[in-house]
Symmetry: C2
């Protein structure tokens, strides 16, 4: 059955791969699944046709036959549970990998999103400069703990999993802040994710939307 996802017609990050469709593309590439992309404009995202697919008017969405899903975490989990390559076979290891997906989205990403929000929506406010270090320290607090747990390991729990896919994707949002570089083991972890062929294909595909040039690889 054909899989169709949605992505920004024009990504606000200029093709840096930070829009959430990249996470879904990456999961589809790891699983070796072909997919189509329907691009949506900012205006179309808030119109009834798209809101019927995604009640919060965002991307990505996922359509496969009769099934329509939204929420990146849910889409990646759906792919991971049904195809090899993203979750271990052992039931307990599988539950732990899913735990890392939730940890990435619910424990590590929220302070990172707060940092992004401060920059994008409050950068012109009189409190911005004084408040920024508080927000950055909330991010560091999580990274201290994550860095401590990862240690010298390649991935969070055994082999690469959907948990790593999500955690690497979340940490990538931090690169421009410089905070990631304060944690050499986390920076190396992110780099290990970025060199995976499936990530590269996903990144190139989202960049091609922005540049209008199809991937050359």
């Amino acid at each position: 059955m054909t899989i169709t996802i949605t992505a920004f017609e024009r990504s606000p990050d200029g093709g840096k791969g930070l829009a959430r469709d990249t996470r879904v593309r990456w999961a589809l590439e790891e699983a070796g699944l072909p997919y189509r992309v329907r691009l949506v404009s900012f205006r179309a995202m808030k119109e009834p046709a798209h809101l019927a697919l995604h009640p919060f008017g965002q991307i990505p969405t996922y359509e496969e036959g009769d099934l329509a899903l939204f929420e990146t975490g849910s889409i990646v989990l759906h792919i991971a549970e049904r195809h090899a390559g993203l979750l271990p076979d052992d039931a307990n290891a599988r539950a732990r990998a899913i735990t890392w997906m939730f940890a990435a989205l619910n424990t590590v990403e929220p302070p990172i999103l707060e940092l992004t929000t401060a920059r994008l929506l409050e950068g012109d406010k009189p409190w911005y400069e004084e408040r920024l270090p508080l927000v950055e320290d909330r991010v560091r607090n999580r990274l201290d703990q994550l860095s401590g747990r990862l240690g010298d390991a390649d991935w969070l729990d055994g082999a690469f999993s959907a948990g790593d896919l999500m955690m690497v994707s979340v940490l990538l949002r931090l690169r421009s802040s410089g905070i990631l570089d304060e944690y050499p083991n986390l920076a190396a972890y992110v780099a290990r994710g970025e060199v995976r062929p499936a990530y590269k294909r996903a990144f190139d595909a989202q960049l091609a939307v922005y540049t209008g040039k199809p991937p050359t690889g």
Copy 2:
């Protein structure tokens, strides 16, 4: 196999049921599963024994035989996937219910957490009064969309599911702000969750930890 979860020895909300162990207790009660609770102090949460279970030094955790999990979303999903009462049987409906779990945790809760953070950690800052309406409007933006999708339905997608359990739990955090009451259908939705016998048992059990009195029901 015995299920053991962790909870605050002394919940910072004074037994209002907002600590995340309530969500896990609720899921266990919906599934009809007995469980034990190990209480942990704020100090013990940051010590190696607890960090081995929960790398971010939080509660709840979940232990069942050889399996140890953290992250409320992952724990609730683990319970929901293995026991009746929290996910529909139809595969597509099941994937949609899981989507609502992620929507609760990743789309609706983050701005609510930002509001909580503003109150708890920045209430004494010079920018607090001026910034608060911005943060509240981010919450309203999500609730507008959620309220529009829920409409007159009892639950988000058919029968009550783990998606509703999580969404109601997330919205409960808003009650003290008064914002929830601006959306009568969402306030009624939360009230429908609260009168479920399983929720009441979960609430009473967490309150009993705080008051030191076992539930009377």
